[in-house]
């Protein structure tokens, strides 16, 4: 199905919207939330291993 003229018009708007939303500060914030959620999910599944990783494994001594 060929893109209609209104589809084409919407694409630059979508691009602009995405650019605005994902400005660098917002990008940092979203990544921060993604990373924190990732740690939470891993902690749910493997609490002892995650704790051990951050308090023992990462230390050489």
């Amino acid at each position: 199905m060929k893109p209609t003229s209104s589809d084409k018009k919407q694409e630059p708007e979508l691009e602009r919207f995405a650019q605005e939303v994902f400005s660098s500060e917002k990008r940092e914030d979203i990544w921060a939330i993604i990373i924190a959620v990732g740690i939470l999910v891993l902690s749910f599944g493997f609490p002892e291993q995650i704790r051990h990783f951050f308090t023992q494994t990462l230390y050489l001594f």
């Binding site: 979508l14 994902f22 921060a32 990373i35 740690i39 493997f46 990783f53 990462l58 230390y59």
Partner: protein, 425 residues
Amino acid sequence: MKKLKHLFVSDWGRFVPGFLFCLVFAFLGMNLDHFIANYHKANVAAEKIPALEQQLQEMMESGGDAEALKATQTAIEKQRAAVAKVGGADGQRWGWATFLHGKAQFNYVAILLLGGILIRNFLPLPKILLPGISIARPVIKPGIIILGLHYVWSDVVQVGGLGLVLTAVFIFGTAIVVMWLCQKWGVPDGLGGIMGAGTGVCGVSAIIATSPVVRSSPIEMAYAIGTILFFGTLMLFTMPYIGKGINLSEAQFGAWDAIAILNTAQLVAAAEWYGSEALDTAVLINVARIMFLPLVVLFSLWFYILRTGKQEAGLEINKWKLVKDKFPVFILGFFLLVFLNSLNLESLGGPKIQGSPFWAMDAAYKWFFAIGFAGIGLSISFEDMKKAGGKAFAIGMVAALVKMVLGLGVVLLIGTEMLRVIGSH
């Protein structure tokens, strides 16, 4: 998928070398801190062992309680384990470690900040590393989100509520005074606006957020950022020692830190340097402060543009969109964790409940802070700080000193109890 694509910058590859460098530096800094801390604990243990053995001897001779005897024996074994961990023997001491870790506060914060400054300014750091170093600083944000586990809602209401009042007074007071001083001294509106926002709210983020609203030039932004970072660095390295010198409690220092130091990463570093209670109070008050960022941007808009009629004809300024755009989204993650922690759910546990998800998650925040501190230290260039000159510098100095002195007075008056985070289960 198109929106997800914008989570990555198109030239992300140029950030990799510098970011990896920060990761390695942070790893080494944390390990050096751990190394010194182990010897410090061994030194403290070695000092306690003779007294405990003496105590045990006396208890055995006087026919002491079996439980008390067992407790003393367990304590001795624990101290011996600390000494054995560093391969030590009876009678050995490691005073150097206690001096570094205890008295000089030479922990991972100091190692990464000072080490980073030395590397940046005295060693030939390849330019290819600079982009990646700049993105290491915001890695502190996941750490702040995870710190939400240290609070329950009553802390947010008490310390956060008090923090909101303090920050409202200091933010708007400072922003108004600085903007007024700038107008009085003939500083261009663009520079005055971002100095007001930067010295009132939270430094670099506020400058970047306010800059397009007050139409400041890139050189004015450089002046403002240079001034803010210079004073932030100065206070970061002096305030903890001043606080110790006047016996400020950790909670009081945290509040003072959050009022006086403007950059989130720098104030987190100073608080973490001082102690864990200081960190808890500082982060909560800082969260309250950065929530004001959209409001200060709006105030700058009114002060410089709408009030003076400098708005361009036909230009519609969408204030709601401005507030939405400038709101620091990551603190929603912080508040979500505070909320979940306050529910006291068995499935989530808490940072002190062994084996629980929150207990595991809590171990991660220091590593995010370490990467962020590595980025901060390596970002502090003496060349950049020299850009802050003239009137902007003088105004920045006045604002910094006034906030520091008044802030100290206020926290001394309020006392420790109102500023202490009670925390969770």
